[in-house]
């Protein structure tokens, strides 16, 4: 029996659960909203790190750029940004946003964040994607730290004291559920876009780069162009996720929220590896498992949570380097279409596979 037959029903079920979840478990709404964004983190990381084989520790740059750009636009459309930031902590002026202003700010801020993140990927990618292997990884690590330092020293965007996104108008009350659904929608769209992408020749091209970049080039693929494009696609969705996360957290710290290498930056990698690098579902599964582990350790192991999380990371990397999906693929290769002989193939090669 083909898995494909159940697929549409499976997708609908997941989305349905996502829609009713905040009503069923209102106490966990913020963790679940974070989970949807984590899925975006892991999916976008895996596009470049898993499918293309370029392990980046600097994807937080795009998250942070998207976050700041969105919030700065939300504010800057209506007030001078520096006055807004200076007024925090009880200045003379009170900055309020009415309903239209708030929505307008968001409607412009999120795309601006996505765009700036994408352009950042274009600029940085053209430079660092020429490097390979460990050199690339280390270089991206540096980029993340540098970006945090820049934000930390830049007065206009609040420097080290961070930035607070606009308050929602009093009339609408708490917007956290609104952002929950926004995060859910972003995760679904990101998933579907990447799923489509992996069925195109572009998907094969980045796999080819992962497996043997010199060969790919020798066969006429313009690898640099392809690599930069992949990073830009990754940055686009991360940029939107950044805008949402900033508004969800209600406070942006340059180092702990925006360019948070040791947390978000590492978690992105971890979630993808945990679930299975280079697979479509791996990052999704990895994000879910990770978020559950993280929240459970925060709740039950107060004080020791980071130690336990660290140990879990070590165990995963040592014993399950292939991740959950990789493990499943080794056990049941034919689920993934790796088989001798068998059915006829027509159309896109991966149509009948799980990836």
């Amino acid at each position: 029996m083909s898995v494909a037959a159940y697929r549409p029903a499976g997708y609908l079920a997941i989305v349905a659960i996502g829609i009713v979840a905040p009503f069923l478990f209102p106490a966990y709404q913020s963790q679940m909203a974070e989970l949807w964004l984590f899925i975006v983190f892991a999916l976008t990381w895996d596009l470049v790190g898993g499918q293309m084989g370029y392990n980046s520790f600097g994807n937080v740059v795009f998250l942070g750029v998207g976050m700041y750009a969105c919030v700065v636009a939300q504010v800057g459309l209506f007030y001078p940004v520096s006055a807004y930031n200076a007024a925090r902590g009880g200045g003379a002026t009170v900055f309020t946003f009415d309903m239209t202003q708030y929505l307008e700010g968001l409607a412009i801020g999120l795309p601006v964040g996505a765009l700036l993140a994408t352009l950042t990927a274009l600029a940085l990618g053209s430079i660092v994607l020429g490097m390979r292997g460990h050199y690339f990884a280390i270089c991206t690590l540096g980029l993340g730290i540098a970006a945090g330092e820049i934000a930390n020293g830049w007065e206009w965007i609040g420097a080290g004291s961070g930035m607070v996104p606009p308050n929602a108008p009093d009339a609408v009350g708490d917007l956290s559920r609104f952002y929950y659904y926004f995060a859910l929608a972003l995760a679904v769209v990101t998933f579907l876009v990447l799923r489509w992408l992996y069925m195109t020749r572009f998907g094969l091209a980045i796999n080819a780069i992962r497996d043997n970049e010199d060969k790919a080039e020798a066969m006429g693929l313009k690898t640099t162009q392809i690599k930069v494009t992949a990073w830009m696609i990754s940055a686009f969705f991360l940029g939107i996720a950044g805008g949402l996360l900033g508004n969800l957290k209600r406070f942006i710290d340059p180092i702990d929220t925006a360019f948070a290498g040791p947390t978000y930056g590492v978690w992105m990698v971890l979630m993808a590896i945990l679930g299975g690098k280079g697979t479509l579902w791996g990052p999704v599964i990895g994000a879910v498992v990770f978020q559950v582990l993280k929240e459970a350790s925060w709740t039950y192991l107060l004080g020791w949570q980071r130690v336990v999380l660290g140990l879990v990371i070590v165990v995963i990397v040592v014993f399950f380097p292939q991740g959950i999906m990789g493990f499943v693929r080794e056990r049941f290769p034919d689920w993934f279409g790796h088989r001798v002989e068998g059915g006829t193939i027509a159309g896109p090669a991966r149509k009948e596979t799980l990836r």
Binding site: L197, M199, T200, R201, F202, L204, A205, N207, A208, R210, D211, N212, D214, K215, A216, E217, A218, M219, G220, L221, K222, T223, Q225, I226, T229, G278, G337, H338, R339, V340, E341, G342, I345, A346, G347, P348, A349, R350
Partner: protein, 247 residues
């Protein structure tokens, strides 16, 4: 008539090692031309120079009349000049079919053309070519699960999928089961006669190159030692000495 590939006075050194010294040779369209020489005589280096994998120190390389010695690897490949590797290179994490699909010609295609769902016609072409090299039954296996010889055959099929004008093969029969070698020679001849691909082949197996090539160049110590039709090369004193005296 000008040659399809024209190499003129090409030199290439790696530090103190003069891998190629003022090499000149020609490959005419539609032909099968051989390149032989003892180990380390500079054959692979010459191939790499031609496809732009490293810059040459001096000399000129023309493909279909166009100077290509300053072009990038991908751009040369897109002109229809494709090489295979002595140390076989395939995409190990992908299935054979996927290896084939992404090997389809990039000539004249832009980045945007990559954003198409793979076409059924391409899929059939990939299957036909896999059948052509005898890998049809393995088409849905990951390429890294193939044996070395099978990977060599896959790489050959991938090169054909690219529909090159000229195909440069670096020791296509190395590692292939001797029983299958005659079949492979047949395939190479068919690729030339039926698909119209000009072949330029490095080969250590004398029997293979003698039955395959119409014209043979022989390198020794980075220099062109001799050239001519197979019978002549086979009996050339210098060639025999080079091979016997090599080690």
């Amino acid at each position: 008539m000008t040659a399809m590939l024209e190499v003129k006075n090409v030199s290439k050194s790696f530090g103190a090692v003069r891998a190629n010294e003022s090499i000149s040779l020609e490959v005419h369209e539609g032909r099968i031309v051989g390149l032989i020489g003892p180990n380390g005589s500079g054959k692979t280096t010459l191939f790499s120079s031609i496809v732009g994998a490293h810059p040459v120190d001096e000399g000129s390389i023309r493909f279909q009349g166009r100077e290509i010695s300053r072009l990038r690897v991908a751009d040369i490949a897109r002109l229809g000049l494709i090489r295979t590797f002595q140390q076989t290179r395939i995409y190990g994490g992908m299935t054979c079919v996927e290896n084939m699909l992404i090997s389809a010609s990039q000539r004249g295609s832009s980045l945007l053309d990559l954003f198409h769902i793979r076409s059924a016609a391409r899929g059939r072409q990939a299957e036909d070519l896999l059948a052509f090299v005898g890998l049809h039954a393995k088409r849905h296996l990951r390429a890294d699960s193939l044996s070395f010889g099978q990977q060599k055959l896959l790489e050959f099929a991938m090169a054909l999928m690219n529909e090159p004008k000229m195909l440069m093969l670096d020791e296509p029969t190395a590692g292939i089961n001797p029983i299958l070698i005659d079949g492979l020679i047949d395939r190479l001849k068919q690729a030339n006669a039926v698909f119209g691909v000009t072949l330029f082949v490095i080969e250590h197996n004398m029997r293979v190159i003698m039955s395959l090539a119409e014209h043979i160049y022989c390198l020794a110590h980075g220099e062109l030692l001799a050239e001519g039709p197979p019978e002549e090369i086979r009996n050339d004193r210098r060639v025999i000495d080079a091979y016997l005296g090599a080690h």
